[in-house]
């Protein structure tokens, strides 16, 4: 592994090693570019992943405090942990469910497709969908996505048999074991899925794609990656010319370090990315770095998420098998007759015993609750993942009350749901009930939203007009030419698809652009 000097101003500094940052590190280093990759967390491995769910949660999760407000569920159920994401090398690609549908063409034209939706800040994406398709194909091949790129689907688990039977009875046509970035056969130097049901705890087979054991070791093998773990970035500095020139961080011992940089890519997940830009305010950028539009942190989207759990007369054993290998695509359409704009996916979601009550059944107690839990062997669970509406005041700001270990204000997350989000959730609940009853469910229970966000989007969004967003179509900030955003923050709108595939596709495209611009000495 390479080691570069702090005053080496020829390196690209990438902040965050997840889907966006880890992919960028590989793509830039393999093109001959020297990269310093700063990761706040530690480095785990297939061997070190804990298989005790509580321990695994603590091992991989970003547990530093946050604060939250608004009428969304996390502000009530988990105000100090409103978003469940990771702080470890590989970021959320260590714990994700690996669900990888694509964004649809009409979703990239959200404002045009939906028209004016009151109380939203909808815009169209500045990228044509045809352009995205090329990078989707590359990303799917890279990530070994099932049912894409010539890969077979995963075999049907008990849990998926329930979903499939119920969905077909409901009249759905596009029902299958999912597009997942999980090996259905051994390839890419990694084994195939052995149906452990421990996707979220870290896949000890390495069958699930994660930058931890794909992109990052490949970047290291080029001899051009300097990965620094337990390195928490506190600000990005710029010179008199307005270009960024250094990144300041605390190392594993808490000592402050300053790494010079030619280009900086921020990929800290939409909460931390927005926080870091806001923390990096200066005389020149008084509202925060790259924030002349006042759009940094705004338009925060997190998807309409809702869980439906059902009990049946006979055993399902939903914990046996790949957690999320089941998908219904029929509702991922825009049909205003349903009473809302945008669409949603219905996705299978298996839970270990400890996680089920916390994630999907966080309310209630007493005989009624316990009797439902007693049916754990006979349960099935699905969730909806749908497009939520961007709103200017749903935003990340710097907390006025809480500070982190370094004395810096933590991210505050405010969300008030839009009527469109609520209408979609209610439709999703009705449809998920029909699916479960179609398979013979005796009892069906819904959550009311998700107790935490997992898909964090939009807080530094791409826009054609610099007044509407933070970056251009390359994730390059409108204000600072050599500052890039390389994670889900750049989504111009949420769309319905789980975001990781699109984050990787955009990173593949951005890396080409950065490489080209560096060669042309434009940055």
């Amino acid at each position: 592994m390479a080691k570069f000097e702090f005053n080496d101003d020829g390196v690209v500094v990438i902040i965050g090693s997840g889907a966006g940052g880890g992919t960028m590190a590989h793509e830039l280093t393999r093109r001959g570019i020297r990269v310093v990759l700063l990761e706040a967390g530690k480095r785990e491995s297939l061997a070190s992943f804990s298989q005790v769910p509580n321990e695994a949660f603590a091992q991989l999760t970003w547990l530093d405090p946050r604060t939250s407000s608004g009428d969304w569920a996390p502000a009530k159920t988990n105000p100090g942990l409103p978003a469940w994401l990771s702080k470890t090398v590989g970021g959320t690609t260590t714990h994700w469910g690996a669900v990888t549908p694509r964004i649809s063409p009409w979703e990239t034209r959200a404002r045009t497709t939906y028209g004016e939706v009151k109380g939203t800040s909808l815009i169209d994406w500045p990228i044509a969908h045809e352009e995205l398709l090329k990078y989707y194909a590359l990303a799917e091949e890279r990530m070994c996505v099932t049912r894409r790129a010539g890969n077979p689907g995963l075999p049907a688990s008990n849990h998926f048999k329930v979903m499939h039977a119920g969905a077909r009875k409901t009249g759905y046509q596009r029902v299958h074991s999912g597009y997942v970035a999980i090996n259905s056969r051994a390839q890419d130097g990694r084994g195939f899925c052995i149906q452990q049901g421990f996707c979220v705890q870290g896949c000890k087979m390495g069958a699930k794609w994660s930058t931890l054991y794909t992109e990052i070791p490949r970047a290291e093998a080029t001899g051009r990656l300097d990965l620094r773990i337990q390195s928490m970035v506190t600000r990005i500095d710029h010179g008199a010319d307005g270009r960024v020139n250094a990144v300041v961080y605390r190392d594993a011992n808490g000592a402050e370090q300053r790494q010079k940089a030619r280009v900086v890519c921020v990929a800290g997940n939409a909460l931390e990315t927005a926080r870091l830009l806001l923390l990096s305010e200066s005389g020149k950028f008084s509202r925060g770095l790259a924030n002349s539009s006042d759009q940094v942190g705004r338009n925060y989207c997190h998807h309409v998420l809702n869980f439906t759990v059902a009990s049946f007369e006979k055993p399902v054993y939903m914990w046996r098998g790949t957690s999320q290998a089941g998908l219904v695509e029929d509702e991922a359409i825009n049909d205003p007759k349903r009473g809302f704009a945008g669409g949603y996916f219905i996705e299978l979601v298996g839970f270990d015993l400890g996680s089920l009550p916390l994630a999907a059944l966080p309310y209630g107690w007493g005989r009624d609750y316990a009797s439902f839990m007693d049916g754990y062997r006979n349960m099935a669970a699905v969730m909806i993942v749908g497009e939520d509406m961007p709103r200017p005041d749903n935003r990340i700001t710097l907390s006025r009350t809480a500070k982190d270990a370094h004395g810096l204000p933590v991210a505050h997350v405010h969300v008030d749901e839009h009527a469109n989000d609520i209408a979609m959730r209610e439709h999703g609940q009705r449809q998920c009930r029909r699916v479960m009853e179609g398979a013979g469910a005796k009892r069906v229970v819904h959550s009311e939203g998700s107790p935490f966000a997992t898909h964090n989007l939009g807080t530094a969004r791409m826009s054609t007009d610099p007044r509407d967003g933070v970056t251009n179509a390359w994730g390059q900030t409108h204000d600072v030419r050599n500052l890039f955003i390389s994670d889900g923050s750049v989504f111009s709108s949420a769309a319905a698809a789980n975001p990781t595939l699109t984050i990787v596709a955009l990173a593949l495209r951005q890396a080409e652009h950065i490489s080209r611009e560096m060669t042309a000495r434009n940055i």
Partner: protein, 184 residues
């Protein structure tokens, strides 16, 4: 280690109460344990407070066949919070006092009524979430609910029943995929 560390450690280890019980004779865990008797030392709560919390956990999540030892794990976690933090200790003391003296020996109907009264309180809600997060992660709960746990060490569920459900139609191959290792 300095002498103050020793004093601090002794102070921390001072036992303030104890909970005891027996594993049910038929419990699969009784076969593995050296003795059916169990005892939990409390480091901040009294025996009476511990007993009240154990009963409270059982009333919140009443699984009749589930060992008291599982509910004692919830009390153990609450006691650890109280030992770490004076504010938490006061919150538990005040909260338990608000249940009234005879709570641990009251009928389930009376206990439910007492908890309904304090349901909106932070004490109740925090303890409810603690009970949810601890109880279902105990080995006793795994045994009670038939949850088989981690599978990596056994080769996953691929050959151990991930697709053994027969009470619904099989999924056509076109909507799923082949078993890995077979021709695709």
């Amino acid at each position: 280690m300095s002498s103050t560390d020793v004093v601090g450690r002794r102070g921390f280890l001072k036992v303030t109460g104890v909970l005891t019980g027996y594993l049910a004779a038929g419990s699969p865990l009784a076969l593995l344990a050296p003795s059916r008797a169990w005892a939990l030392d409390l480091m901040a709560l009294t025996s009476e407070q511990g007993a009240a919390l154990l009963t409270m956990a059982r009333t919140i999540l009443p699984h009749d066949g589930l060992e008291n030892a599982a509910y004692a794990a919830v009390v153990h976690s609450a006691d650890a919070d109280a030992a770490r933090d004076a504010a938490a200790r006061k919150s538990y003391s005040d909260g338990i006092a608000s249940l009234g003296g005879g709570f641990a020996s009251a009928s389930e109907e009376q206990r439910v009524a007492a908890l309904k009264k304090i349901e909106p309180s932070a004490f109740f809600q925090q303890f409810r979430v603690k009970a949810l997060s601890v109880l279902y992660s105990t080995p006793f709960a795994y045994a009670h609910f038939g949850y088989e746990g981690e599978a990596f060490s056994k080769g996953g569920y691929l050959t151990r029943g991930f697709n053994d459900l027969r009470w619904l139609p099989e999924v056509p191959l076109s909507d799923a995929g082949p078993m890995p290792g077979t021709a695709s």
